[in-house]
Subunit: 428 residues, 2 copies
């Protein structure tokens, strides 16, 4: 007879932690709010909410605005807001030719940001992580002066990350394989090992771009964001995508979902470095577009840094350069073919263009939308508005970095008590 | 100030219903089991389980096997099993050239099954549903004689079904558009309107094939089934797919996910009826393979019914007919290209070939696997076993029909009390 396992009921402690998180998330998303309004939105009584609010105030996660809440029944109180001086999420980005770090507070404001050009193509992780650590130390010092303390770090990389790990399995444009970023970031970290013990997440940049879109996106207003089912395409040097289903990232069995850049578009086409043929990246990736637009490698190298080459292409296209306009149109065609496959498979509500594609949308979109409409007609149901809409991200090249910072902060929102305990013991 | 909504706690009744479902599902999946074993597996005490078991026995959903349970502590009791005479799930399949109906009991056994050839290509729904209703009446009568009562009906169709509805939005090979199957099935139903009030689900056949794979699949053993992340490809006349993530079907925003047949494979290729160009179905669909294999439409028409033309192709290929072998190889190439896109996007653990593809696997697989390996190398992580494995369904052409019957039964397993109340009032 099998052993009878002990049931594991929700402990009081677990329920309290969950309710603390609900209070904090509600105020973060909708504050400032009165205690009564918080209680109402999460379906607890005012008496039930009061001790939770007190605990979050003591932990420095909530503050009273000092402004009296609009009075309902009972004693009026000050409105509650999330603290601008509590935890900060650190986001970092390792690009092919740049590094960037930013810090976002609970109110969602960017409190510090540094970036640097870098020659990371075909590099070794060690030196890159040392430079990144220096940028992190700078940002941590800046926000420390304003009373903010890092709650976690998320690093965006242009490559495949093993699910639930800090290991970059393959980042073709960096030339990295099987690189665990955790030891490098901790051992070389800034004075006092300030990163030691800090929760670390490593994530594909397109996934973080999609998270930023979920958190901050939408058509002009902060809220509502994009629909809960969308495919987010981002392009920097390579092309990546993220698939969001019911408001959650689809990561894939190994964490490798979203490799749109290597979806075959012209299967008998050119050889790709990945070993395949006719991959999307060969027709819509940055190098392909620069080449087709008549821009020499030397000309491109004169524009390093995030978004610089996209800006160059946009300028040339806006000036009416025929080769650039044609190159961007052909990239749109290839994107439309690859996305038609994705739409037929996934039936999303929207396709969102982010990263460099956002800036280049005026020249990429027409051919992209034409191909998409042509090749998804079987699923176009006029009574339901046809196929998915194609939207352009307002975040552009900032998406992955902002998404990283917000992802790092999410742990606090999910379990506020965890942050109250210092994330690392002071040293040095 | 916003109104304070009343919290909606779990009622005792809701908890009891959920626990009844847990008991029933546990016995269905793992029975026969003693009461103590059931209690152990769902984390309740024996005293907590006893009244639930009694209620399920009274409802005729559980039975005592009469065999004494291996005694642990306490009074020994008879082992429990799900009833072979309670509810049955009805599955129906509307194919391009056949109709089929089956009934499956709680033990997962097929208790009745009828099928008929039919000329459903470019048909009207009305006459097709009348024929289907007659087959349903026959199956219901047969299982009624054995003490089984239909608990629900699920209908598999080769087309797009609007999510959560009974409406076929578009079934190109049937020629149906915006066809709600519910009125047709109920109003023309067999004597006594036996289908009236019966829970009805209409679902894409590939989705139901994937559900069958989840429930009954696996590599030779009944359990364990396939991994929780897989892409299921099924081919009859058309080609469809279903995407399973974390053990659940990914349906898409409108319910249209899985349209693998219209993923562009050779984007400058032939025009497709869907309006696109170079869709997979033009190279790996049944008509394409028959034509490339040198089989005339007249020759094909002499082999109607589910699986008959696949069997014809398999026979010719086994006999070494060069045109057929080449046609199947080219179909495999096209499938491999389309699936490479899907694998790059979704990173599943496995690709499962079902429907007619299962029988044709010996001739389709080599080129399919070659293309897939070539075009997913960027995500192939040797330390994790490379890309996804390609498996062949053991269910073959039976998948969608069996999946439908199991889907219809799922409602009973999810909420046993609902079934106890007669699903329809007797008439006529």
């Amino acid at each position: 007879m099998p052993a009878i396992p002990t049931p594991t009921p929700d402990t009081q402690q677990a329920i309290r932690r969950r309710n603390l998180a609900r209070v904090l998330r509600t105020v973060a998303a909708q504050g400032p709010l009165s205690r009564a309004a918080v209680a109402g939105r999460i379906g607890l009584t005012r008496a039930g909410v009061a001790p939770l609010v007190e605990e979050l105030l003591r932990a420095g996660l909530l503050v009273e605005t000092g402004r009296a809440a609009p009075s309902g029944r009972g004693r009026p109180g000050s409105e509650l807001a999330v603290s601008a001086h509590g935890p900060a999420g650190l986001g970092a980005e390792i690009g092919v030719d740049h590094l960037a770090v930013c810090a976002v507070d609970l109110r969602g404001r960017v409190r510090a940001r540094v970036a640097a050009d870098a020659a990371n193509r075909q590099s070794e992780p060690g030196p890159v992580l040392r430079r990144l650590s220096a940028l992190l130390a700078e940002v941590i010092a800046r926000i420390g002066a304003e009373g903010l303390r890092p709650a976690g770090l998320a690093v965006a990389v242009p490559g495949l990350v093993a699910r639930g790990s800090t290991t970059v399995v393959h980042a073709p444009n960096l030339g990295w394989r099987a690189a665990d970023l955790a030891p490098g970031l901790v051992s070389v970290a800034a004075p006092g090992h300030i990163l030691d013990g800090l929760p670390l997440t490593v994530e594909n940049e397109a996934n973080l771009g999609a998270l930023a879109e979920l958190r901050l996106g939408g058509d002009g207003a902060e809220l509502p964001g994009p629909p809960p089912d969308f495919v987010h395409v981002s392009a920097e040097v390579g092309i990546g995508a993220a698939v969001v289903v019911d408001g959650r990232l689809l990561r894939g069995a190994r964490g490798f979902a979203g490799e749109l850049g290597h979806v075959p578009v012209y299967p008998d086409g050119r050889r790709c470095e990945c070993g395949g043929r006719g991959c999307l990246e060969l027709y819509a990736g940055e190098q392909a577009v620069l080449r087709a637009g008549g821009i020499t490698p030397e000309g491109a190298a004169a524009h390093p840094g995030p978004g610089a080459r996209a800006a160059l292409l946009a300028r040339r296209a806006a000036d009416g350069d025929a080769a650039t306009v044609r190159a961007l149109g052909e990239a749109g065609t290839a994107l439309g073919i690859a996305l038609a496959g994705a739409v037929n498979l996934l039936d999303p509500q929207a396709v969102v263009l982010g990263g460099a594609l956002a800036e280049l949308a005026p020249w990429v979109l027409p051919s992209l939308e034409r191909e998409l409409a042509l090749r998804t007609a079987v699923a176009a149901d006029p009574s339901r508005g046809g196929g998915p809409r194609v939207a352009v991200s307002r975040l552009g090249a900032d998406g992955p970095l902002l998404g990283a910072a917000h992802a790092a902060l999410q742990a606090v929102l999910d379990d506020p008590l965890d942050f109250r305990a210092p994330a690392h013991s002071p040293r040095g």
